[in-house]
């Protein structure tokens, strides 16, 4: 019984990962729906875990994103990340989105980012994944799919 004699399960130390924003967004997503019509679309898939996300965007006449939405099957981290992403990319052009995606990847991998983009404050609840190496890809998958859509690629796979 040695291993079983232990304190009751305690989740206090995972609240850095599962912050309220993340739990809220994964339970009550704001942008999870099928956007139609749309101008660009890509599917992201993690073949190791089976997570899938399809991101769709429509553009305004000035080539900024008018609307972004997604359909996904994944963990709380990937769902919350997709939902927050759809929040912050409206009104941005492709170059600005690519820069933000790179800054977010740095935030997810290291817990911080050198970028001063104000949108990072919205995404900061996801910085906790940096302490969970195997979960970083969950947060970055929706962004990889969005960048693929902007590049005109239809699919992207995350392997690590």
């Amino acid at each position: 019984m040695s291993a079983a004699q232990t304190a009751a399960p305690n989740f206090d130390d995972v609240r850095d990962l599962y912050q309220d924003t993340i739990l809220d967004r994964s339970r009550n997503p704001r942008h999870m729906h099928r956007l139609d019509p749309f101008d660009a679309c890509a599917r992201g898939e993690n073949p190791l875990c089976g997570d899938q996300v399809e991101v769709r965007v429509s553009f305004a006449p000035d080539a900024t994103v008018a609307d972004a939405a997604y359909e996904a099957r994944g963990c709380a981290i990937s769902m919350a990340s997709a939902d927050l992403m759809a929040d912050v990319v409206r009104g941005r052009d492709a170059a600005s989105i690519r820069a933000l995606a790179a800054a977010f990847e740095q935030l997810a991998r290291t817990g911080d980012s050198a970028s001063e983009d104000a949108a990072l404050q919205v995404l900061r609840p996801l910085s906790g994944v940096s302490e969970y190496r195997s979960r970083v890809k969950c947060a970055t998958l929706p962004w990889s799919a969005l960048v693929a859509a902007l590049d005109g690629r239809n699919e992207v796979a995350s392997h690590d």
Binding site: M1, S2, A3, A4, Q5, T6, A7, A8, P9, N10, F11, D13, V14, L17, Y18, L23, R27, P47, L48, C49, G50, D51, Q52, R73, G74, C75, A76, I77, Y132, R135, C138
Partner: protein
């Protein structure tokens, strides 16, 4: 020390008694006895020490039939890693189906070989090489004993189960199967028993046929028979036990149907060989593949057992040193099996470690192991299915210690992360069985898998923590 030597005496006596009885347990004792005498007595002090320990487990095993108690704490004490803490919590290791932990006997055997007698095998004329070659080859006998193979020459060392299956695909697949013939796999295969055949299909014109499973997660036997009906199947390649569902396939029946259809049977025993006694002759298999690291042995060592007639028919897979009989630039001839399939310096230390692992599990005894794990599995199924919103994947009648599940409102990755923070290691995802997951309509599951060191208390802790996780995500 005193207690230890008393124990050794005691177990020595009981071993003789067991031998005299001529029971199944005596057969096991005889196997390990042979293995022991094949070693150089002057160098076997470590082996003898571990042997005493394992013999005593053997007695625990043979007594199991009379006293339904399995001394799991004594087994746990043999695994140094189980005293580790993870995130400040005691390690609860429920991921043995991915890779099992290693007992002291395996660790010591490998260290001892490196410290006292290491050299290359089958080459040197010096003492070290001869001793190492003896120990290496002695493991071939141990593997033959483990599988009840008719001959040690039918045991080929590979790098892994994957290596063994690829050997069959490349050598038997290209050398013996003819384009237009089919390889029949099941819907519950690990990628390691799908991709090699897919590659063979694409390069050699083989048809890859898939036998479906039922909603319960068992092989659909009627459909399996239909898959064999046109007589084009040359090889059936099927898992003995599913790494996702825990399902044991009825290999004897599958073998009979396969042979009646004129085909050969390759069994992927990666999961099964760990949990129950495997007898390749009784099963009726033609090929049997397994890996060392799931059997409490090291990584980097796998085994392909195949009937001698098949190995003789098969061309070499890799060329190089060791596998030849004579070499000239014009022409070379091959060594007889199994050497023909073991080109290059083999995984010497890993083979020695595998030998120690086989001694260890045979010392406990497969009757005792199977009974312990059956009780654990029953307990786990009862505890987990009582959790509201938890769904277990597969409900096969005959199943082993692997339980995959989903929990409403919580993704498998989130479950695995929260379990990990409580010291509980499980696997989450598609388990290298994407087609099976698709068949089940699941994107991912969490999987708890059990070994000889798993306790009911650990399963209770898993269940209690899952209840809390469900609450966390609600």
């Amino acid at each position: 020390m005193n207690a230890e030597s008393k124990l050794a005496d005691l177990t020595g006596q009981v071993t003789h008694a067991a031998l005299a009885k001529g029971a199944a347990s005596a057969e096991l004792t005889a196997v390990s006895h042979d293995a022991r005498t094949s070693r150089d007595a002057t160098r076997s002090h470590d082996a003898a020490t571990s042997h005493n320990a394992t013999t005593s487990h053997d007695e625990a095993g043979t007594r199991h039939a009379f006293v339904p108690a399995f001394d799991v704490e004594r087994i746990r004490a043999d695994f140094p890693i189980l005293s580790q803490r993870v995130h400040g919590k005691p390690l609860v290791y429920l991921d043995s189906a991915a890779s099992a932990q290693k007992p002291r006997a395996v660790i010591d055997a490998m260290v001892h070989a490196m410290e006292t007698q290491y050299a290359n095998v089958h080459r040197g004329l010096h003492w070290m090489s001869e001793r190492t070659s003896d120990d290496y080859e002695a493991v071939r006998d141990k593997v033959a004993g483990l599988l009840n193979a008719p001959s040690r020459e039918e045991v080929v060392f590979t790098g892994s189960s994957t290596g063994a299956i690829n050997l069959v695909a490349h050598s038997y697949g290209r050398g013996v199967l003819k384009p237009g013939q089919a390889v029949l796999v099941s819907e519950m295969e690990h990628h390691a028993n799908i991709i090699p055949w897919q590659m063979l299909r694409d390069t050699h014109g083989i048809e890859l046929r898939v036998a479906p499973i039922t909603d319960a997660g068992e092989l659909d036997m009627a459909a399996f028979e239909r898959c064999l009906q046109d007589g084009r199947v040359g090889l059936v390649a099927i898992t003995h036990m599913s790494n996702v569902l825990g399902t044991y396939n009825p290999i004897e029946r599958i073998a009979a149907l396969t042979h009646a259809a004129g085909a050969q049977l390759m069994v992927d025993g990666s999961q099964a060989v760990v949990h129950r006694r495997v007898d390749v002759q009784a099963l009726g298999a033609d090929f049997y593949a397994f890996t060392g690291h799931k059997l409490y042995g090291p990584t980097g060592i796998g085994v392909l057992w195949a009937r001698r007639a098949l190995l003789e028919q098969m061309p070499p897979f890799m060329g190089g040193g060791d596998m030849i009989s004579s070499v000239s630039f014009e022409h070379s001839t091959w060594a007889p099996p199994p050497t023909k399939f073991e080109a290059g310096t083999p995984a010497i230390l890993e083979v020695i470690g595998l030998g120690a692992a086989i001694d260890y599990v045979q010392g406990i005894g497969f009757d005792a192991i199977a009974a312990h794990e059956a009780a654990l599995t029953e307990h786990a199924l009862a505890r987990l299915s009582a959790i509201d919103g938890l769904h277990i994947a597969g409900r096969a009648q005959d199943r082993g210690g692997v339980v995959s599940f989903t929990l409403d409102g919580a993704h498998a990755h989130d479950i695995a992360t929260l379990l990990d923070r409580n010291g509980i290691a499980v696997r989450a995802g598609q388990h290298c069985a994407e087609p099976l997951m698709r068949r089940l309509g699941l994107s991912s599951t969490a999987r708890a898998s059990f070994g000889i060191y798993t306790t009911q208390g650990e399963i209770d802790m898993l269940a209690d923590t899952l209840v809390r996780i469900r609450g966390f995500f609600q």
